[in-house]
Every structure is written in C-alpha cells, then in structure tokens.
C-alpha cells in the first residue's frame, strides 16, 4: 500500500500533467474516486490496531486534504486559462458592423413643423386642423374677402372641379382653420394650425405650388395688439433663441385689422421677413358667430418651408420634394 506522502506527491505530479479541466476531472477520479488508492487505504484502516489506525487515519486525512487543495488549485488555474482562451477566441472587431438597418429620418418639414407645434403647446396652445380642399367660403368669404374683392387676387388660387365652379379650391393659406375653429369652439381660444397650402405657382428655388404654413389664433376677453406683439416676441425667443427679436410693420390683410407684417431680427442685425398678423377683423368674428364687442383676438401666420430651409442650410425649395434618399438621409 502506498504511503500517504507518496499519494500527495503522485497527486502533484498528475495534477500538473493535466492540461484541461476534463483531464483534471479524470485525475480527480483516479486520485479520490471509489477505486482510488486513497479510498483503498481508507478501507484498509479497518483491519489495523486502534493506535496504528488512528495514526494512519490522521496521515490519510492530511493527505486527502492536501490532494484536494492541489486539485482545487490546479482546477482554478486551468479554469482561468480556459476562460482566457475562450475570451481570446471570442474577440470581435466591433467596427466590422454598420448601422443596420440604417435609421430612418423624419422629413425636414415634419421636424420643423413639430418643433413649432411644441413651442406653441408649451405656451398653452392646442393644435387645430382643417381640410386641404376647402370651400370658397372658409378660404375667403368668412375671412372678409367679399366675392370679387381685389384682395382675392393676391392669392393665386387653384380651384378644383367639384360642386359649382369656383366654390371649391385648394386652400391658399391656413387661415380657413381660424374660421372653422371659431365656429366650433367657444372662446377663449388659443390654437395653432399648421397645414399644407397651395397656389398657382411654377416650381423654382423659392416657389412651389405646395407649401406649409402655421397659423395662430387667440380669442379672449381683452386680447390686444400688444398681446400679439408680445406673443410674436416670445415665440421668436423660444424658437430662434437668444439674441433674436421681432418687430411689427403695418400691413394689410382683409381678415385682420390692424394688420401687420412681422420681421425677425437676427443677432447680426439683419432682418428676416417672416409672416403676417393682426387683430381679428370684426367681420370675421361676425361671420363665425362670435360677438366682436365681447371678444377680441389676434391671428398670425407664417411659412414653415422657409424656416426649414434656413434651419438646415438648404438653398432650394424643390429639394424638399425630390425624395432623393441622399437628401432625406442627411437630417
């Protein structure tokens, strides 16, 4: 029968010889399993005298403890090596992949549109909508453009063949939404109405037969021209940022009086003519069933497309409509 010390020496040798965890597992079975010399030695203890048995037993226990320690240490070594090897084998070049699928892009008009909505929602406005094919009444009549009024000529209106000739058109501005909102909602009213508009125009870098506007309408008990100017200024600061300011210049629109153009002054002192605005004309209130002695209001409107062009540094309106993925994918 082998001496316990020899068993330990043997264990050290075999453990060191094992180069994989599987081999080590086999070594463990050979050294400590049911058929191992250690177990055989333990069984042999029963035949010994008590004193000798005690001594031999202690020796065997010590040897067992040493062997376990040797095997554990070796196991840890091999496990670490195996992990290192596996990790090395799993190495990836993380730059081999591309964005797939490439993310989609919101159209610049939508991005600008949503930004504008958000600014006004933040100021307490709701967002209203109306039809793109509109009646002559809402586009003109309700807005204080009597039939035959020369101011109708300021809009190069596209009509559609529907109903009586001249009664149905492609809305030339988002202002008809004003009239629809006032008809359907009791004041106070705080709304903006972004939307698509149309005019008889030949496409070029600065004109398109289709374009987008956003309209604002406030109707309340004591709304003033000062409120309008203050609202334009607040919007200017919120949308364009610090250093931008605004001014109102007298102008003419049939549906507002007083009417004004509003310009934005850039930090470098240059001006951007942005849109039109004014106090809601009493005739518009009357056409929409609101008593102009009880309620006052202002309206404003401006183009979205040009803001998108400026914001993204695009120099030709037609680019917005080509749907070239090389354009869409940039924003």
């Amino acid at each position: 029968m082998a001496e316990p010390e020899q068993l330990v020496v043997e264990a050290e040798r075999q453990a060191a010889a094992a180069t994989t965890l599987d081999e080590l597992s086999a070594v463990r079975t050979a050294l400590t399993g049911k058929r191992s010399p250690l177990v055989a030695a333990r069984k042999a203890l029963g035949d010994m005298e008590p004193d000798a048995r005690k001594q031999a037993g202690q020796a065997l226990n010590a040897a067992k403890a040493s062997i376990d320690e040797i095997l554990s240490a070796r196991e840890a070594e091999l496990a670490a090596a195996a992990r290192t090897e596996q990790l090395a084998a799993e190495r990836l070049d993380l730059t081999e992949v591309t964005e797939h699928p490439a993310s989609g892009h919101l159209h610049v008009i939508t991005q600008t549109w949503q930004e504008l909505e958000d600014v006004f929602v933040g100021m307490g406005y709701r967002v209203a909508e109306g039809p793109e094919i509109e009646s002559e009444w809402y586009n003109f009549g309700a807005l204080n453009f009597p039939l035959g009024h020369p101011a109708r000529d300021m809009y190069d209106t596209l009509y559609v063949d529907y109903g009586e000739p001249g009664t149905t058109l492609l809305r030339t501005h988002t202002s008809p939404v004003q009239a629809r909102v006032m008809e359907n909602q009791e004041p106070p009213i705080y709304v903006v109405a972004p939307g698509r508009c149309f005019r008889q125009d030949t496409a070029d870098a600065t004109h398109m037969p289709v374009f987008h506007q956003i309209e604002g309408l406030v109707v309340d008990r004591h709304t003033t021209l000062g409120d309008l100017a203050g609202t334009i200024e607040a919007f200017t600061a919120a949308y364009f940022g610090p250093g931008f300011s605004s001014r109102l210049r007298p102008s003419y629109f049939p549906f507002t009086e007083p009417s004004a153009e509003f310009d934005i002054q850039r930090p470098d002192g240059t001006w951007l003519e942005l849109g039109g605005c004014g106090m809601v004309h009493p005739n518009v209130f009357k056409a929409c069933g609101i008593d102009p002695e009880q309620w006052q209001g202002f309206a404003f409107g401006f183009g979205i497309d040009r803001l998108a062009l400026i914001r993204f540094g695009i120099d030709d309106l037609r680019e917005l409509w080509t749907n070239d993925i090389r354009f869409l994918g940039q924003f």
Binding site: S103, V121, R126, E132, A151, P188, Q200, T231, R247, N323
Partner: protein
C-alpha cells in the same frame, strides 16, 4: 410706387434726415421701402459731348469707334458698344478719371488695340431711366463740355421704391406719401392750389358729359385746353419722370403721367377735333362691343366693362383702363378734352384683369381714387400746360353720378385702447388722426368722438379702420408688449400624438419620411394600378399637377424609381398625407393615409410592419385577409383589418406596375387609412399576472390547404386552447411533394400555463387534443405525425 425725396418736399419742405432713417419711418407707417437708391449722384465727371464721326473698329464687330467733341473742339476717340447715335447727336461722356454711380472708374485704355478716352453712357448707367441698351441721346442746344447735371438741371436726390398695400389708395401719390410722412415727422404739410388763367369760350359751350352708368362713374370732370404743346416736356419734369421709371414721350403725355404720380388721379386727353361736338358719355359696354385701343389692339367687351362714348354712342375709350385710338392726340392736335374721373374700383379691377391691361391708372382706380381731387388734378394739368404755352377755357365740366353719402364714424377711445393695448388719451388719438386728414369732433357728452374720413381713404369706413390708423401713426413699435395668459393646458390631441408615435416607430425601423408632391398627372393613378383619375384641378399651370390623389402609391413609387435611377435600390420610405377619394358632400371626402414602400423586400415585410404598427398602436381585432388588391401582386396581397374592419391593404406591387415605373426590384407595400386606424377601438389585452407555476410547451404541425391562412389557423387554436393557452406562435412553414400540391405544413408552438397550479399531463393532453380537433374540423387540416 416710386417717390423722389425732392418731390415729397414740394408738399412738406421740412422732411429731412438720413435717407435710411426715412426709409425706416416709411416702413413703420406701413410703406415698406423695397429699394432705396440715390439719384443724380456720381455725375460730376460726365459732360455733354457731340458725336463728330463714327467708324468701324478694325478688329472688333461689337464695338465701334466714335469721335466726340467734349467742348474743346478736339476729336476725342471713344470705343462704344452701342450703335444708336448719329453724327451731330449730343451724348453724355464719362471722362477719364470719372467714378460712375455704380463705382466703376473710367480710365484711358486700349480696347483691341484702339484707345478709348472715356465712355459714352446709357440712361440706366447715370440713373436716368431704365434703358441699358442704347446711349442716351440728349436734346439739342446743350453746351458742349458742360457737366451733365448742370446742363440738365439734375439735383442730387433720393428715390424710394415703396410697397403699397391695397388699403392705401392715398399712398399711390407723392402727395399722399408726403402727408403720411409729414404727420409722423410732425412737420408741416400743404398742397399748393394750382394757378389757372382762363380764357376764351367757356368749356361748357364746347363740351359736355352724360353719365348713363351713375354707379360706375361717380364723377367725371373735364377741362378744355387749347394751344397744347406738341414738343417735349421741360427738362425738370422729364427728369422726375425718368427717375421714377417713366419714359418721357411728349409734353401732353408726360403732364398726364406727372399729375397722376403727384396727385394720384389718372387722367386722359382726347383730341377735341376728333370728338364730335365735344360730347362724351359714359355707359356700360354692350356684350361683344369692340374697341380699338391706343396700342392698336381690338378688344371684345362685356357688359361688365365701362366705356366712354361719343355723340354717336360709339365707344372711344375703355373707362379707367385705356384710351381709344380714334381720339388719340397727335402732333397736329391743338385743343384737347382733359378727363379726370372716378370709376368703381371693382369694375376696373375686373376689366383690367380680364383683358390683361393693368396699368398705373387701373392700379389707382382699383384701390379707389379720391373723387375730391378731380378738380385739382385738372387744374394742376392746366397750370403745368400753361407754362408750355397752352391756354385753358373758362370753367370745368363736373358731371356726377351717384355719390354715396358717408357718415362720420363714431370712435370709442376705450375701444381704441382695448384693441391696441395702449393708454392713449382722446386728444392724443385725435392728434394722431388730424394730420392725416381724419377730422375729429367731440361726440356729445360721452368720451366718444366722431371722425370724418377723408375722401382719399375709401378703404376706411368703420371704427376698426380708424383704430388701425391710430395704431399706425402712433407706431406699432411703441406699443407695450404683453403675453396673454391662458388657463388652458397646451397639448396635442391623442390623434396628433399617435401620428408622431407612428412616425417614430417607422423611422426607428429604418424607414425615412418622403414628401411627394400631392398633385398627379392624368393617368398616374392608372399607371400605379389604381382606378380612374380623381378630382381635377380647374386651373393647373401644368398637366403634371392637375389631378388630386386618391392614394399615396403613385408618389411613393415615383420616389423609389427616382432613387433607383440614381443607383440607390432598397429604399424604404413612408408618407403620411391627405387623399381625396371623391364623395358627394359640400366638400370632397378627405382622408389621411399612411403608406410605406419597402423596395427590395417581399410582401411579408409589409405584413410584419403592419403587425408591429397595429401592436404599437394597441389596435384591437387586427388581421390580414389574403386576397387580390388593385395594382398589387394578386398572389401576394391582402386587406388589413382594425377592429375587424378593413382599413387598408398590403402586399407587393404588381410586377407590371413596377415595369411601368422601371423598377427592377420587388417592392413591398402597405397603405392604410390612418384616420380609420386611429379611430378603431384601441385597447391592451386584459392584464394577466405572470404565472408563478411552470408552463408546458406543445408543438403541433398541420397539413393545411393554401386557401386557409395561417392567421385563421392560429385564431382557431387560440380559441380552442381556452384559458390555459398562454400563447401560440407559428414557427415553421414548408411545402413538399409529400404534402401535395396546394398544401403546406404550418407548425405552431403552444404554451400552456395556469395561474394557480402546475398543469398535470392529463390537462395538457386534453387542451392539446382540443386544439387538434378544432383545427382539423374547422380547416379540414390534418395533424402531421
């Protein structure tokens, strides 16, 4: 509207200051300055020269050599690119060393080997008119070598090009602009009364006016002038006309234009000898009546046009728009009838627009001229003509039509402040209004005052019009800015929020948003496999923009084709946009569609997209029903359901349609009525607590006819599985000869679980059998062994 600073000063001599600042003031009054340009500056080195000889350049065709005498009797050679001068003509010569108004310096230089000692100038080059082509030929009699400005009496001046809004008839005259500007600047404004010497037979005995259209013609004034000048205008007058862009023609025409620009009253001259008895009449035209105008065109008139007629009721002029050829003045004309009238703005607008004859005159009548300025306009013309030797017959014929009475407007000061957001006193308000001719009177005991609107402001008739004037003259920039406060919480509607969620989902899936033009060409819908053309545009500029769309498909197909033609295939795009399917209400039906086009992908990609979209929006009772859809691949298309109702279609674009668009890849398609989709019942499935007990999976494969959709089988299993069935998922589809033609295998994984216990084998077996039986019976399918 172009105005000269010097002309404004004729009415308000104290208007002064930096032109840039004056431009700011004009803009603040609502007269935006489109262009501000100096006049009569930079002319110091330009002198009068006489053409002595011209001869070809030996080495150039486009220029020739001109010898001129600039006053020293020597022949000075100049190369010139214009050929409109003759020997003896007087021309402006920019001498060597001159800096031109545009900044170019004139140097002695060789042009193709020939010396050029200066430059001959066109009118445009020296701020005298718009002619860029020819050299300005000057009147004879000027002294050679004298500086041009001195010879022609040109003073340094400033030209403002103003944008005048339709509600400012007064600002269509120098006088009106001066009135506004003087009021704002607080300087005196006055209009000199023309000085007219009258002589000879009274006008009333030589001419008459009959108004048969009294609503159209409210006033018709006539003076008779004799010995009218036949030559050119005086230099100072021609200079002013040139500066405002009006080419001088002859004294009579120039005077007419001058009076119109100055006072805003268009006027017209008739050769008295060509008007029998000096009798003029006004009536509406007969339908189909013809008139030959000054420019020689024969016009066909309608009953909406007003005409001037002679004694024989023949039309001799188109009222307010253009004169007729038959009474045109000529070099032989000695006596004229001078007309200044007031015409109905709407009628003039309609006539001028219909005939394409908009002019300086019609622009003024359209806005509403001042009926009270008529006598002064006639007198001003007579005064100016007298300086050229003309005489004026005594008296003025002043025929009137229907002159509406205008009542003073009652203005409430509190209302003024309430609208403007100001705190002006009544006297401050009247102090702003009086200088522009709005006369104010105290209105009894109340604070209110009555405003008489001046005759030159026909746009102004109500309290709000007066409030606008107060605000305008006060200055919008002086009004304190406030921001109204609302108790309303700003928000997007649920539908607007959902629209954004859809956009985010799609872009997150790698699909970009396209924006095709909403107009189509005739046949575009048919080319995309859709029906007939939709609603048509009545007056499109081009046929390609003449049809309103009923589907987003043509636009997105075009977008894919556009990218494919630029070597980018596999493009994924979506659009959310309006469509007009027709309808019979007051307005055509208008819906909002969502469409997705996936180039290079098969129909199933559209189904996956639809399922994800429906799940994202928590639409209930969604589904896909296989079946043909117009323009889609008949075997790869179907309808999509939301809340059990069809809301759109999906599949793959029909190869024939793809051929028409020259697209070489498969294209998956989804188009839904977004409004209907978002309106469909939306809800999450009732909450079910995750079971704490183990679940059991069962795989079942069935042989199913191609007529039966996987969705249908899945639904049958879901129903048969009952409470215990936690999920069912299709995981494999295959076809083989063994399964036979028209059949395929569908394999599902069913997961069973109970919330309160571990299911035993018998329970699972029973549930499994129920599912097998249901599928077998319902779909004539068989379980594969």
């Amino acid at each position: 509207m172009k105005v000269l600073l010097s002309w404004l000063r004729d009415f308000a001599p104290d208007i002064d200051g930096d032109p840039e600042q004056l431009a700011e003031v004009l803009a603040d009054l609502g007269l935006a300055v489109e262009e501000l340009s100096p006049v009569g500056r930079g002319l110091e080195g330009i002198v009068i020269a006489e053409v002595l000889a011209t001869r070809p350049h030996p080495d150039a065709d486009r220029i020739h050599l001109v010898d001129v005498d600039a006053g020293d009797g020597e022949a000075l050679q100049v190369c010139c690119g214009a050929f409109n001068m003759a020997v003896g003509d007087l021309v402006p010569l920019a001498t060597v060393g001159t800096t031109m108004p545009n900044g170019i310096e004139i140097a002695r230089r060789k042009m193709r080997g020939e010396w050029s000692n200066g430059m001959l100038c066109s009118g445009a080059e020296i701020g005298m008119g718009d002619d860029h082509e020819g050299i300005l030929i000057l009147e004879q009699g000027l002294s050679l070598g004298v500086p041009l400005a001195e010879a022609l009496g040109i003073q340094p001046d400033v030209l403002f090009d103003l944008e005048v809004n339709p509600n400012r008839p007064d600002a269509m005259s120098v006088m009106g602009v001066a009135r506004d500007l003087a009021a704002r600047l607080g300087v005196p404004f006055s209009v000199a009364v023309p000085d007219v010497d009258e002589t000879g037979t009274p006008a009333a005995e030589r001419a008459s006016v009959g108004i048969a259209a009294p609503d159209f013609c409210q006033r018709f004034g006539v003076r008779v002038l004799d010995n009218v000048p036949s030559g050119a205008s005086p230099r100072w007058l021609a200079n002013r006309l040139l500066a405002v862009g009006q080419r001088p023609i002859n004294a009579v025409v120039d005077l007419s234009n001058y009076v119109m620009f100055e006072l805003g009253q268009p006027n017209h001259t008739y050769d008295l000898d060509l008007v029998p008895g000096g009798e003029l009449g006004v009536r509406m035209a007969h339908r189909g009546e013809e008139l030959t105008t000054l420019d020689g065109t024969a016009l066909a008139l309608t009953t909406y046009d007003g005409v001037i007629v002679n004694r024989d009721d023949e039309a001799i002029g188109l009222a307010g728009v253009m004169g007729g050829a038959s009474t045109e003045i000529s070099a032989d004309t000695r006596s004229v009838l001078l007309e200044a009238a007031w015409w109905d703005p709407m009628t003039i607008a309609r006539t001028a627009r219909r005939l394409g004859l908009r002019s300086e005159a019609s622009a003024r009548f359209e806005r509403g001229a001042d009926p009270e300025i008529i006598p002064m306009a006639l007198d001003r013309f007579a005064e100016l003509a007298a300086a050229l030797g003309s005489t004026t017959a005594p008296g003025m014929i002043d025929a009137t039509g229907n002159r509406p009475e205008s009542a003073p407007v009652r203005v409430r000061p509190q209302r003024v402040n309430s609208i403007l957001g100001t705190d002006l006193s009544t006297s401050e308000m009247t102090g702003l209004l009086e200088p522009i001719g709005f006369t104010c009177e105290k209105g009894g005991d109340s604070q209110d005052f009555n405003v008489t609107i001046p005759s030159w402001r026909l746009d102004s008739a109500t309290e709000i019009d007066v409030i606008e004037e107060v605000g305008r003259l006060h200055g919008f920039s002086k009004i304190a800015r406030t921001v109204p406060v609302t108790e309303q919480a700003g928000a997007l509607t649920p539908q607007q929020q959902d629209r954004r969620r859809v956009r985010e989902l799609l872009t997150g899936m790698g699909i970009s948003e396209a924006m095709p033009l909403p107009f189509l060409a005739p046949g575009d819908l048919a080319r995309a496999g859709l029906g007939d053309d939709g609603i048509t545009v009545t007056n499109p500029l081009v046929a390609e923009e003449s049809i309103m769309r009923t589907s987003l498909r043509p636009g997105l197909l075009k977008a894919v084709a556009y990218n494919a033609a630029r070597r980018t295939t596999g493009v994924s795009l979506f659009e959310i946009g309006r469509v007009n399917p027709g309808g019979g209400g007051d307005l055509p039906d208008e819906g909002e569609h969502l469409a997705v086009i996936l180039a290079g992908q098969e129909a199933t990609a559209a189904t996956m997209l639809w399922r994800r979209l429906a799940r994202h929006l928590t639409v209930t009772r969604t589904g896909v029903v296989n079946g043909p859809v117009d323009g889609l691949h008949p075997g790869r298309s179907g309808r999509v359901l939301a809340d059990g109702h069809p809301v759109g279609a999906l599949g793959e674009i029909d190869p024939q349609v793809l051929d028409a668009y020259e697209i070489d890849e498969r294209v998956a398609w989804l188009e839904v009525d977004l409004g209907a989709l978002l309106d469909a019942e939306r809800a999450l499935a009732p909450y079910r607590a995750p079971s704490r007990y183990p679940s059991s999976d069962v795989d079942l494969a069935f042989t199913v006819s191609d007529d039966v959709s996987a969705d249908e089988v899945s639904a049958t299993i879901a129903e048969a599985g009952g409470e215990l069935l936690a999920s069912v998922a299709l995981f494999d589809v295959f076809r083989s000869d063994q399964l036979g033609e028209g059949h395929r295998s569908l394999a599902f994984t069913l997961r069973f679980e109970a919330p309160d216990r571990t299911l035993n084998d018998a329970e699972v077996a029973q549930a499994r059998q129920s599912c097998i039986d249901a599928v077998s019976n319902t779909h004539n399918a068989s379980l594969r062994g």
